[in-house]
Amino acid sequence: MANSFEPFRDWGIGIGLRVPHYDHILTRKPAVDWFEIISENYMVDGGRPLHILDQILEQYRVVQHGVSLYFGSTDPLNRTHLKRLKQLVQRTKTPWLTDHLCWGSVDGRYTHDLLPMPYTFEAARHTAKRIREARDFLEVPIAVENVSSYAEFHVSEMTEWEFLTEVVERADCGILLDVNNIYVSSRNHSFNPHDYVDQVPHHRVAQIHIAGHSKFEKYIIDTHDHPVIDPVWKLYAHALERVGNVPTLLEWDDRIPSFEEVHREALKANRFLKESIHEKAAA
């Protein structure tokens, strides 16, 4: 099967659009391949968020990334949320939309966290059904992101990468492969991150996330407040060898440095993207 996100493979390197960088971006108009926005920050009626977004949309390509669709939750999909999200999709004309392979609400109560799934066939069927429902409503291709996790369940019947594969094959959707999250989870759960990258369906990878994290004494947390570390860059290079060039996005959400520093860090990905191009050409 061909990569359904094939038309976007040359989108290059994106940056997460963050409030401290608004003025820099709008006044200096830096050359950035595309911006990723957190959908929930712009699902409002008006004011500065939409005013800024409209100016960004005039000059840049924008992709929407969500944090609260909670495809794995057992609650019904929140229709109010979906309607708001669809309005934003129509505004941004995002070519694809991403959110996480996780859950985060029970009985309509939200934790605002990306909670880990038990890797069971029941959970995979349930999650895939909700992704299809969301895609049918939103009328835009969806890619799901693997999350960092700090807990594992006794009931799990498969590995995380097998679960991800089971979900995306059933939902017929894309993958937002977060290589930093793979690295973090591999350290927390003692698996080989290369096995993960090797065994997901590569043709479904629509986008890659890279980020920094924080190391504690007994575990690692995905904090998005540091530069990307070398092992994650190596894992990114390994992922590109497997999936070819795909749009790549640097996430930096806390203790955000200047725009130039974030951009410089993101552009390091170019080295690996280009290598990947050469390798493909040689092959």
Partner: protein, 268 residues
């Protein structure tokens, strides 16, 4: 939201999510650790070990504790950021205690953290013991700070022009405007929460509005407040103008309207 009936067995996935969420949302101990007892009094370590695996470094409980701490730190940080004035009025310790009780009583029911503080004002009224003896001041401040959040990203409609008025287009107020009659000078208190002279009650009529996408407060005369509040509640223009004190000159009311027009408060 549709919930399963009590006689319906929970699916395994739902059961595990309910258990996990129970642990995640339990308030932390004073030392910001996970509680040793589950909500039903059983040992938490025993309950959690039935559904979460331990690993070489962490017990089942310690693994869930990471999420428990993240939940509270994230939500409390969000309230700290949204209600700095209330924090100033109550002090750090009482503010944190209020927020923990609030989140426990009113967990988030929105997909966005922006809405987390929507019911804090109401909670303060319901639980005066948490803010006494500054309950009225805390209530006013929570109301003002929530209004700022709402005004910041509320919608706006096309501004009414002089031509529209000549064409008898109905006068409406911008949907982002909020008007308040406070018992305290909370607009000043927000800047200087430790100024004790501001702790005394002082009727304050205020508009929360925005110019160039930034929020501002504007003091209003009581009569001006009544006109604007009336218009916002759908009172016809003529009737709203009738709410003015007799001592106010017609010229003054005209000036108010000119100023409100200049601020873009009227819309089509």
């Amino acid at each position: 939201m549709k919930k399963p009936r009590p006689d319906q067995p929970l699916s395994p996935l739902r059961k595990i999510q309910c258990q996990f969420a129970t642990g995640v949302t339990q308030p932390l101990t004073r030392g910001d650790r996970m509680r040793r007892r589950w909500t039903d009094g059983r040992l938490a370590s025993h309950v959690v070990s039935t559904f979460i695996k331990p690993n070489d470094a962490l017990s089942s409980l310690e693994r869930l504790e990471i999420y428990n701490r993240q939940y509270w730190f994230r939500l409390l940080d969000s309230l700290r950021e949204d209600f700095p004035g209330l924090r100033g009025v109550l002090g750090e310790r009482r503010f944190r205690n209020l927020c923990v009780e609030y989140v426990h009583s009113y967990p988030s029911v929105s997909y966005t953290l922006r809405d987390l503080g929507a019911r804090l004002f109401q909670f303060i009224i319901e639980h005066p013991e948490l803010t006494a003896p500054k309950t009225e001041m805390a209530r006013d401040m929570a109301n003002l700070e929530w209004a700022q959040i709402e005004v910041f990203d509320a919608g706006a409609r096309p501004i009414l022009t002089a031509n529209d008025i000549r064409r008898n287009v109905a006068v409406r107020l911008q949907p982002y405007l909020r008007f308040f009659e406070f018992d305290h000078a909370v607009d000043q208190l927000l800047k200087t929460p430790n100024r004790r002279s501001l702790w005394r009650p002082q009727k304050t009529h205020l508009a929360v509005h925005r110019i160039d996408f930034a929020c501002y407060f504007k003091r209003l005369e009581p009569s001006a407040f009544r006109i604007l509040k009336g218009l916002q509640e759908g009172v016809p223009l003529e009737d709203a103008c009738g709410l003015v004190d007799e001592s106010i000159q017609p010229g003054t009311v005209q000036e108010w309207f000119q100023h409100w027009m200049a601020l873009g408060w009227f819309c089509k």
